[in-house]
């Protein structure tokens, strides 16, 4: 029997506010344990949460970017369970009335595309973390992360393959990072994903029994875990068994999913409205205000680049990978007026160097204006493309303007036709044998002449002009 996988994803994204969701503590990552804490996030007796307004603003941004309906009034709820990383014994989250509902994102994964519907987006606080010393054995509690704001984005079970799952995740990630509301670093845990997977016979409308997958800390692992789990469920079904509804952890080293122990899973969270917080009200005026601050989103930007700059879809994809790259490219393209050439320089030289030197796009030593000018200097024939590569290298290492480098190195191209003709004549006169060969049909010799001219001009001759003059003179006219 042919089975069809049904996948839904729950994404937790840490919002990069300066302070925590219900107190004034810093959210900075990597501080010594328990230094970013206060009575409120430590859950001491008698303290009360006070909502950080920026958290709502960021969550509304994501809701708008994913076409959700925003609830004008949403409600906080307590999710009750015991764990040492959860200081109050409950997590403040949203349950019955979340901030936003019923949105979608479109994926460009095949010809017709794919729409994944979003069930809801809600706000909540993160828990702290435990550090286990197995040798002692003892566990330490670090509550720096307790109270860091999160949004949870829950999709409908709309995905039908691990590839679609991965594409959906990348899309959400890209939007969050573009909105500058999440760092999106999966290793640091500020973008996390759980998956619900089930199988059903192809054509069957009802869903099969699902399992929930956790502990996947990279895009690759999400896809691998989904692939494994689909194969596992298929095996169970094909061998006449039934899939058990359970939570399974991805084991990266073994490449398998394993069931969580029953004890850890048997939770009744006893959600109820949090009496310490008033409902969150979001007025239309505020929504409009936030909407006006939304940047162009990656998918729209890609489409515009293809349309406006007439560059290939592939280029548009690379150039919109981040807002910094896209902004940089647009400035280069505008400055030089040669969008395709600009794309080649940014994709090849800039991104290559960025990767090689491990610097951030924001710290690129060559300004977009300077690179634009460099491209223009090639275009107007001041320097050759080959010279430009050398100029680029020096610009990268020194941060100097292209004009400065060209002047310093005396790199100005010889574009005086009269002067070049004299050189060409000299070369032709000095190499009669090669002239004979060329005229006898051996056109490869042409390169030899170009090389000779370049050598005599120390590489400063305009290649286009050299070609033109050589062709004319060698063909004997």
């Amino acid at each position: 029997m042919e089975y069809e996988p049904v996948i839904g994803l729950e994404v937790h994204a840490q919002l990069k506010t300066n302070t925590k969701i219900f107190c004034g503590c810093s959210t900075a990552f990597g501080a010594p344990p328990n230094t970013h804490t206060c009575p409120v996030c430590l859950g001491m007796p008698g303290v009360l949460p006070v909502l950080n307004r920026t958290v709502v603003e960021y969550a509304v941004k994501m809701a708008l970017a994913t076409h959700c309906t925003i609830n004008h009034v949403s409600e906080w709820a307590r999710k009750n369970y015991f764990y040492p990383d959860l200081p109050k014994g409950y997590q403040i989250s949203q349950y019955d009335r979340p901030l936003a509902e019923r949105g979608y994102v479109d994926l460009d994964i095949n010809e017709e595309g794919k729409r994944v519907n979003i069930t809801r987006i809600h706000m909540e606080e993160d828990a702290g973390k435990l550090i286990h010393d197995e040798s002692a054995p003892v566990s330490y509690v670090d509550l720096n992360r307790a109270g860091v704001p999160l949004i949870e984005i829950v999709s409908e079970p709309d995905m039908r393959s691990p590839e679609e799952g991965a594409a959906y995740l990348r899309r959400l990630h890209e939007i969050l990072v573009y909105l500058e509301i999440c760092d999106g670093n999966m290793e640091e845990g500020n973008f996390r994903c759980d998956a619900n997977v089930s199988l059903r016979p192809k054509g069957e409308p009802a869903f099969g029994t699902r399992t929930e997958l956790k502990n996947m800390n990279s895009f690759r692992n999400v896809q691998r875990a989904l692939e494994y789990e689909i194969r596992r469920q298929q095996y169970v079904l094909e061998s006449g068994g039934t899939v058990i509804q359970e939570t399974r952890l991805w084991d990266d080293a073994r490449g398998t999913t394993l069931p969580m122990r029953g004890k850890e899973e048997a939770h009744d969270y006893r959600y109820f409205p949090d009496p310490d917080l008033v409902p969150v009200t979001v007025a239309d005026e505020w929504i409009d205000e936030i909407r006006r601050t939304l940047p162009e989103l990656p998918r729209e930007k890609r489409e515009r680049f293809i349309r406006e700059y007439e560059i290939p879809a592939y280029d548009a994809g690379v150039l919109t990978a981040s807002r910094a790259i896209a902004d940089y490219y647009e400035q280069v393209a505008t400055r030089c007026g040669k969008p395709k050439a600009a794309s080649n320089w940014v994709m090849g030289d800039i991104l290559g160097h960025i990767k090689e030197d491990k610097v951030e796009m924001e710290d690129c030593p060559i300004t977009a204006a300077d690179l634009g000018n460099l491209v223009r200097l090639i275009d107007d024939g001041t320097i050759s493309g080959k010279m430009a590569k050398d100029v680029f290298e020096e610009m990268w290492s020194s941060g100097e303007k292209p004009e400065t480098v060209i002047k310093k190195r005396g790199l100005v191209q010889i574009t005086d036709a009269g002067a070049l003709e004299a050189v060409v004549d000299e070369v032709i006169a000095a190499n009669p044998a090669q002239v004979e060969q060329f005229r006898g049909g051996k056109e490869k010799v042409f390169g030899f002449f170009v090389g000779q001219v370049m050598k005599k001009t120390k590489g400063q001759a305009s290649p286009g002009l050299v070609n033109e003059i050589l062709k004319r003179k060698l063909s004997g006219s």
């Binding site: 009575p39 009360l48 200081p87 509690v141």
Partner: protein
Amino acid sequence: MESHYLTVHELEELLRAGETTSLEITEAMFRRIDAVEERVHSYINLMKERALEAAEASDRRRRDDAALGPLDGVPIALKDLLCTTGTPTTCGSRFLERFVPPYDATAVAKLRAAGAVILGKTNMDEFAMGSSTETSYFGVTRNPWDLERVPGGSSGGSASAVAAGECAASLGSDTGGSIRQPAAFCGIVGLKPTYGRVSRYGLVAFASSLDQIGPLARDVEDCAILLSVIAGHDERDSTSFPAPVPDYRDCVGRSIKGWTVGIPREYFIEGIDPAVTAAVDRAVSVMKDLGAECREISLPHTRYGIAAYYVIAPAEASSNLARYDGIRYGFRSPGERELLDLYRNTRAAAFGSEVKRRIMIGTYALSSGYYEAYYKKASQIRTLMKRDFDKAFASCDVILAPTTPTPPFKLGEKTDDPLQMYLSDVFAAPANLAGIPGISLPCGFTADGLPLGVQLLAGYFEEGKLIQAAAALEKALFTEQRRPAL
């Protein structure tokens, strides 16, 4: 001078006139505490050294003509669930026996800023769960009027301290009657403000949607003075209300002629003590004498109040008390190797049986499959009760009712019968469920000399009306000055 039975406003006058000093008053208070505390046991912890320093600082301000207001130099006691830096805040529980908060509750900070001298922390039912102060880990408090009887609860220590002259006034908290019921039992005045009138920051939570801090004092004017100091919006409590705070003292001494007083017929149920009914009848006739119209009204959902209260309060408590897990502060069961053992044994050893009972009730009420039938239903009843009061206050200025169905009962009388104990809050809890303010004031004595109380209720943020009516009633009711025979 025997200053320990003076009111806050009397002390204020003496201090202002330079006839006494805060140090003198404070030292006298500690002498009084030494004399009666063994019998009454109002306090869990005293803060003598710090109190004497505060008194001296107040006297210096007084000398420099820089007194901070009516509370400057006045000795006040705090229920031991109001967080205080430098002194344990135990909530009457073994779990927090040695817990010293690194912060003051907002109400405490406001008292300190007003120059009040804080004497110590008063006894209470564990985590405010009780109506008799018998569930405290630190032993029972006795009613100063009859040492064989309870002072009421949960703010029993705050009430007995005022009644026994161990402080000028005190702060308590009222979740389902915990200020008004002990005030009635101890023959003093106790005011529960509107939910949101006083910041809950630093008040250790029992049931967050019901808890309110309020004053217990010897007369209505003292309650007004304290309320004006502690009320107001607090950035650290999102549920505190951003309305300006009037000087409630201005409402004392004004006529209530022409007011309408509602008498809810549902508050005169079977089983109510005849002495209580007689006291209320007397209050009604005094109100009429004052020119108010007393009219029978109906609050039809009253009879569901106690049931709704005993679902909502334990539900919230079960969540609020989850933080006492032995991980970060407070009691921890020693030598545990496994996490679950640590949780179980810590909570088993550190919580008393009433707290455990309510955690279990609340956990059950919120459980999957029961939520709709219990918590949700109780919340709906709560809405209906709010509507009852809204309707009543559309035609009444205040409501007059008994505070409790009986006079103070005997120690141990109801400890084995939680339902009987819970019913002692039957007239008090509706105000908490609705969020409206209420005040209990003395209204005579039983034949055995036990104090009786009567309760007034008003609409949201109508503390001014409440105080105006209570002060008028208090003045007109006054017949004789009685003190407990200690």
